[in-house]
């Protein structure tokens, strides 16, 4: 997976990104409220996808646990949202997921390949069913009401989490730690023999990625007035990030970014325009992108671009 290595040039130029960021941050001033809500949802998916790739991209471990971390964030807001300031709640949501990921990581990251994928998936289901059992049989109340927050505040916090995530991704990949992570993905035994504390590197990265998922869940919960285990721990939140990353292409750092933005927008359009066919289209896109776009949307565009470029040269 050499192609995953990031050079400063392949990353968006800092100036342009800063400009886009300022424009985005000021967007509540000049776009309609609906667009702000849409942008918030898109950024939620971007955060889930990019943080999923942060761990699963270089290591090759397919984690199906995002829904667990996302759900923990949601529940933290549902429990503490009334009593604490929003930013603190979001921080606690992220930290709770971080701690959960440390625990899960130490327990499960010695499993390889497919076992890890099934285990993380089972974990989401376990949490969901246990919470459901707890709510219906012990406390006797199913679901919770979440305090509402103004759209702009939710959007700004989401944007803040996104910026923090991008900076983390960028610096992590450039650091020695990122190189260690990459070498684990290429050959775990060899990495261990070179003196890398394989388990520690994997678990910490797993936990960092979980922090962002939890924070995103904590802030997103305020957009939903009512939550219950089925909504908070919906396994779709585990699959969508994986799908968006594959759809965009994991070869480049901006692949997951492009994939999640395009896909999240499509998701929004599809659910409103074709509610009955939404899941069907979702399945078809998943199968087709695995079969025909091994390098994702970004890879496909690059290939088409190169072909066109070469074609022009041939004709002159």
């Amino acid at each position: 997976m050499n192609s995953l290595r990031v050079t400063p040039k392949s990353f968006l130029l800092p100036g342009i990104s800063l400009l886009i960021l300022v424009l985005l941050a000021a967007s509540p001033l000049y776009v309609p409220p609906y667009t702000i809500v849409l942008l918030t949802t898109i950024f939620m998916f971007v955060i889930l996808t990019v943080s999923w790739v942060l761990f699963s991209g270089p290591t090759g471990y397919i984690s199906l646990a995002p829904a667990a971390f996302f759900g923990v964030g949601i529940y933290i807001t549902a429990m503490l949202g009334k009593d604490l300031p929003l930013l603190v709640v979001v921080g606690i949501g992220g930290l709770a997921s971080f701690v959960l990921a440390l625990l899960i990581g130490f327990l499960t990251l010695r499993l390889r390949g497919i076992y890890f994928a099934i285990l993380t998936f089972g974990l989401v289901e376990l949490i969901r069913h246990f919470l459901l059992f707890w709510e219906t049989n012990i406390t006797g109340t199913r679901g919770r009401i979440v305090v509402l927050v103004e759209n702009e505040h939710v959007f700004w916090i989401m944007l803040g989490i996104f910026v923090l995530l991008m900076l983390t991704t960028y610096f992590l990949r450039r650091s020695k730690f990122g190189l260690a992570l990459q070498s684990i993905g290429e050959n775990e035994e060899a990495a261990a023999h070179r003196g890398i504390n394989v388990t520690m590197v994997k678990v910490i990265t797993f936990a960092i990625s979980a922090f962002f998922m939890g924070a995103a869940g904590a802030i997103m919960a305020t957009k939903w007035t009512y939550i219950d285990p089925y909504i908070a721990f919906n396994p779709l939140f585990s699959f969508l990030p994986v799908l968006m990353a594959i759809f965009g292409g994991m070869g480049q750092i901006y692949g997951p970014l492009v994939g999640s933005v395009v896909f999240a927008y499509l998701d929004e359009v599809l659910t409103t325009k074709f509610p009955y066919y939404y899941m069907l289209i979702f399945g078809v896109v998943l199968v087709v992108s695995i079969l025909y776009m091994p390098d994702g949307l970004v890879g496909l565009i690059q290939r088409l671009w190169r072909r066109r470029w070469r074609g022009q040269h041939a004709s002159t």
Partner: protein, 289 residues
Amino acid sequence: MIEIILEVVVSGLLMGGIYALIAMGFSLQYGVARVLNISHGEFIMLGAFITWAMYTVFGINPLVSLAIVGPVIFIIGFLIHRTVFTRLRTSSPSPAAYEGSSMLAAFGLMFIIQNVAILIWGAEVQGYSYLTSSVNIGGVVFATNRLVATLLAIGIGLAFYIFLARSRLGKAIRAAAQDPTTAGLMGVNIKLVLTLCFGLGALLAGFGGSLISMMYSIQPAMGFQYTIIAIIVVVLGGLGSIPGSFIGGFILGLVGSIVAYWQPALSLVAYYMIFILLLLIRPKGIMGK
């Protein structure tokens, strides 16, 4: 007290027969064809719905439907493997990459099959009654359909095991499971064997679905819970071990029955707990090598 124990055990064994059957299909698809088929439950659902449709529309006996469901589901599975998984396998850089991508493709298939079923049959819960007269097993009373379904499940499972152990094709399948490259050098048509295995796994799922529809109400979203059960049983029995899946099915059936007697809402939680503990303590399963 003895009666309660007997009731729990018999009901666990009755459930275990079906679990064993669907887990064998799953095990075949993973153990040989190397596809962690998350859409396995959807083939069960298809089998159940075809049986139900034939019973309610044409009045065909569900036991007769087995002869129709089997080939139909086999062909669907065969074609899906040919179009999707064969292509994926040849384009994947490594077996590990294939396992990951085929699992994700199976997730996509799950959504496709489930939603096509919803478009055809609607999302409602359906059902029919067949052989509902009661039967007495050692003082415990059960519906006849459960007994018939379990005996058929065990029969099909055993027949399939004998096919794998004794026939020439069965030998080729076992060879392909152990070492596809060497088996290919010995003249086994690997591409065909893998596709056949996927089809046969789907066929077993279809049979399981037919039998399930005799006992329980069905709906298009029913598949996934059976996929989960199949995964747990297969991990319990050892990934790729057919006898392990068979035994594992009965063990999980018993455990489910015991937990359901004590606290019905916790049976799914118990399944996941077993699954996670098993993966952590003995990921090879009881019969794994």
